[in-house]
Symmetry: D2
Subunit: 325 residues, 4 copies
Amino acid sequence: MLHNIAVLTSGNDCPAMNACIRAVVRTAVHQGVHIWGVHNGYKGLVNDEIEELNTRSVGDMIQRGGTFLGIARSGEFFEEDGRRQGYENLKKHGIEGLIVIGGSGSIKGAATMSKEFGMPVIGIPATIENDVWGTDYTIGSDTAANTVVDAINKLRDTACAHRRIVLIEVMGKTSGWLAMTAGIAGGAEYVLVPETKSNIDQICEEIRADYAKGKKYSLLVVADGALKGMGVTTTELGKQIQEKTEIDTRVTVLGHIQRGGSPTVEDRINASMLGEKAVLAIINGKKDVVVGFDTGMVVEIPIDEATNNRKTLDTEFIRLSKVLA
Amino acid sequence: MLHNIAVLTSGNDCPAMNACIRAVVRTAVHQGVHIWGVHNGYKGLVNDEIEELNTRSVGDMIQRGGTFLGIARSGEFFEEDGRRQGYENLKKHGIEGLIVIGGSGSIKGAATMSKEFGMPVIGIPATIENDVWGTDYTIGSDTAANTVVDAINKLRDTACAHRRIVLIEVMGKTSGWLAMTAGIAGGAEYVLVPETKSNIDQICEEIRADYAKGKKYSLLVVADGALKGMGVTTTELGKQIQEKTEIDTRVTVLGHIQRGGSPTVEDRINASMLGEKAVLAIINGKKDVVVGFDTGMVVEIPIDEATNNRKTLDTEFIRLSKVLA
Amino acid sequence: MLHNIAVLTSGNDCPAMNACIRAVVRTAVHQGVHIWGVHNGYKGLVNDEIEELNTRSVGDMIQRGGTFLGIARSGEFFEEDGRRQGYENLKKHGIEGLIVIGGSGSIKGAATMSKEFGMPVIGIPATIENDVWGTDYTIGSDTAANTVVDAINKLRDTACAHRRIVLIEVMGKTSGWLAMTAGIAGGAEYVLVPETKSNIDQICEEIRADYAKGKKYSLLVVADGALKGMGVTTTELGKQIQEKTEIDTRVTVLGHIQRGGSPTVEDRINASMLGEKAVLAIINGKKDVVVGFDTGMVVEIPIDEATNNRKTLDTEFIRLSKVLA
Amino acid sequence: MLHNIAVLTSGNDCPAMNACIRAVVRTAVHQGVHIWGVHNGYKGLVNDEIEELNTRSVGDMIQRGGTFLGIARSGEFFEEDGRRQGYENLKKHGIEGLIVIGGSGSIKGAATMSKEFGMPVIGIPATIENDVWGTDYTIGSDTAANTVVDAINKLRDTACAHRRIVLIEVMGKTSGWLAMTAGIAGGAEYVLVPETKSNIDQICEEIRADYAKGKKYSLLVVADGALKGMGVTTTELGKQIQEKTEIDTRVTVLGHIQRGGSPTVEDRINASMLGEKAVLAIINGKKDVVVGFDTGMVVEIPIDEATNNRKTLDTEFIRLSKVLA
């Protein structure tokens, strides 16, 4: 059994990363294992910003957004020398295993270090885009979806008052999960996602027809990766729609508020369960896996499989959104 | 395939019942089936408060708490004559199947009518207590858990300011799910649930020891069914704890605000999925089942099995709460 | 005393317009006066979209964002012929006075009609920018300020996690009230407002010095009118700051979510008080005034004075923000 | 000019006490004055729990509920010997003036010490009940009103679903401000306050008549001091109303969640203004006053006048609530 493990956060921050770190620390302490925190992600790993944590370190943390360990990109860690430096820093503290909380790309970085130098790594998927292969859920996605729906509710008020078309751009480079989930829950008329091609002309015709029948507004949720093929920004798309429909159209790019905020109950609970699972797995000799949920149960996915693939949207959702719209 | 179905809400209202009705109506319309709404639950069924619904009936509904169909207890429906009257009212409108949204008890009532008169019934589990057998999830439970955690956050502020012990009583007659989920997510020190016996003397000793070590407050979440065996109310328990610990103690009984509020994304999505599933099942000849989620997938549970048993708390949660506290 | 009055909303919608309409309607009914609602603002006035309202028309309205009467710009109303048409439509229904809920520009339009045709008009200031001359308060401003602070809290989480500089652009063409109020309440380091010239170079130097001392993030709130003189957008300013400070910088343009949302208690109460006051004033022969608050008391401002001037930020606030930052 | 001042919080905690302490500290530092914090209120004053504060002490504080200085009742401080001890502890640290943040009773305690030993005292009114004489506003009242309205919204959902009468008990021993403000803003049908006698029989008759006309629910907000004369608790009143109306009635006692939560913008801004004002006043030789708002402007009220009287509800509000109901 391992007796010294470390945890770091990497990639983009998201809600409940702190809840996950808290569970990692308290589970380790509960198991009698020393737990170390790496500050500022891979940059801190290369620069040896590593300190031991204890139960108090994570008090009053479960409800906080962001990550108290901090995150910073590291050019050096993309090079073998940088990764060696990180490995040696861990070894210097007697650390025998590393837990990485972040998205696919971030976990992949540690996986490479593991291959090169034999440091056991376990990844915990944390990204509001919920696009990590092999797991139904990623930390922060539930809070982000509720944040987007809150914004949709506010935009509906003003859309309805002015009988406008409103486009709201949300995060989702390759996966439309956040856009689709928030779109269905927010009662949006259309959701544009990277997984399917949208016919703007047809949408405009439908909207015009709906307005002719007395509809007061129309809400479109646009994943920021959905327009890649179309070569327009969401703002430009808004202009096109206004020209085609001759209906006043507004665009809101929601931006970074999607990453912040106090986490929901689901994110706190799931982040806690994954944090505990990761610690129990790594101290018992598991290595190079990502812990996640598959049909509701905690599972382990080989780290290469999880990081070399990208999860896309369940087509069930796309169908459901059309039935309910 | 059926061409006329009805939907009613029964038992205690909870968040996302409206989102579920909306999905039932829109799925039926999408399938070309007539959908009828029964107002005021079983009382309205006996009194023939039945009208046809359409897509417009459920516009601007997904975000609303409560149930626009209303709920009312009916003494008559407990008698066979009352149930016959309800059955005949449905038949009078040409209705061939009934969807009931509510808790176990409510679904059981319709199941009895189904047995007696052959009206196909499908139940959709909706209760903030998440205690329906055979399903991991019941409609409204996620919103209620977030409402309780919001209250815990407010109580922590004042507990901490006055170095008090604070007890918060939440709903949970036979299941501690809501108390435990909110307790873990809210970072409560103790959670008292009906599934396990709590040792108050030991809790008091631990709290005294923690205060001696400088702890500033202690939060206990109490499911209202947890004290049944102890023959005290939560308010009386608070007095006992104050006497035993000699620490200022306060009790808040959260009450009916747990049942209200705009539903979370998870409740809106799940309520929509169960609503759609119930319609597809009943129009295709399924009968006398409850639709729910088992390890993340939509499943059908025989209605007697679902209503003659009561789900209790996953012991995994109890263990996790001790590790994280 | 007048026996028939009308109300319309104009300009940009904002929270608590519905609460104000509700108070106008209920006060009129309470006074035994017929109250008419003009749909879709001045466009509806010209097109005679006018119907009588009653207590039921405004049930379940106080908590809703937007305006159920709707708002639409009208080119015609900018012409005397259009205003004459609007005047005649009011007369046709026997309406003797008009209450306009909106910003300065909107109230000015009705004031002109009043001068030309003698229709008594009373304005109720409603704009999230709180820039109407002669009143300390405008409807919607308190809710908008809370919405901005909620966004600032979310942005702080991610700014702190990544040690970033974050700029948030909020509404405020000529007045920095919203930016400054939310900036102080949100604990922002800097607030850029139209009323004062900001020295970007100095700000960048200060931020670099603060980071050198260990500061983890910096938040700048930018009123969208603050950069007019500088000839840059907030997005471009963000790029400049990143170049000058060599610190990762992000920009969020908050946009239309600032106009929506369920109103706060203060906005509901003040909107109700102003609505009641406007009705009592107009039915008792007052005309061509704007009702507002001066040092906490409801007052009447001559409509020309209120619409020909623009209120700017209390310098007291600018001073306070520097003390607290 | 004074060079050493102290601040303490006393009485019951409320939202934005931390925002006020923050403004006191930062204003003092900005003025080059040493600022000391007394932990645990008067108990800490007697026990010399006093430490110097700086700008960092109040970082990340403006958004937090409660008070990081803590509050504790002190029997000793009710005695002259205890107050002398407190005075001597202040002197020992060279402290020349004391700022007390709390309700009337708390401020009175310091006023007595001031009379006896000549320590200059300035009070800052902080209580959710907004019942301090001479000021329109007390810290925390705006946040508490929004918390109550949030609860009313949730209770309306379930009241409407079940066609129930719902009573909600809120804080207000001698002043109905919180009940009335939240009642008007929440659209409650009735508000029971200590300032006026309520006729329960008449209320019951009106409710029965409204239900006969098709009303779906009725909400009563009850200030906990309103029933003193009637010799019943809110729970007992609920039973009486159910018997008299024969309509299903529920009671929720909101309790301590009213004192917690992250403060609203108005509370943060006003608490900051009062904190700054108190420091500027005391260091410039002002003593034995309470700082507050009168018709929107910051004013000073003689401490005896402020603490020997109790503000009651503006009758304007009572009238307005009847017009809008």
